[in-house]
Symmetry: C2
Subunit: 76 residues, 2 copies
């Protein structure tokens, strides 16, 4: 099974969401990507349909935008 | 342990999010409330901090607004 990917940018909204997500998705089933530190991955996030962070891209391809920390444009 | 509560209003965004949420939270750990059909619960949702649906209120009290279906004002 493909892992879910949690994209964030280190903002406080992101970090709180990360903790909440990790309370119901086991850490070995999720990949966490900090787009602020790993800007090369922004393209992947965009292709997956991510418009803002924090966002969770599920293994079925669906994107859950969770609360609102920053738009992907701002992260760039 | 208190259950998480998933509030929605029957919109397509809500229903898709519900399926995704149920893919990682077991059904016996979550209560699903349709605010369109159960308007008396809108007040509870507001008090919990829900501003739009779909939203997931976690057992720790944190609110995750997931994508955006409708504002609570529209549901009223």
């Amino acid at each position: 099974m493909t892992k879910s990917i949690f994209y964030h940018a280190g903002c406080s909204v992101c970090l709180r969401a990360e903790q909440d997500i990790l309370s119901f998705i086991p850490e070995n089933q999720i990949e966490i990507i900090h787009l602020g530190e790993d800007k090369a991955k922004i393209k992947n996030a965009e292709v997956a349909g991510v418009q803002s962070v924090p966002a969770l891209v599920l293994s079925n391809g669906n994107v859950l935008h969770i609360n609102f920390g920053a738009s992907l444009e701002d992260v760039k």
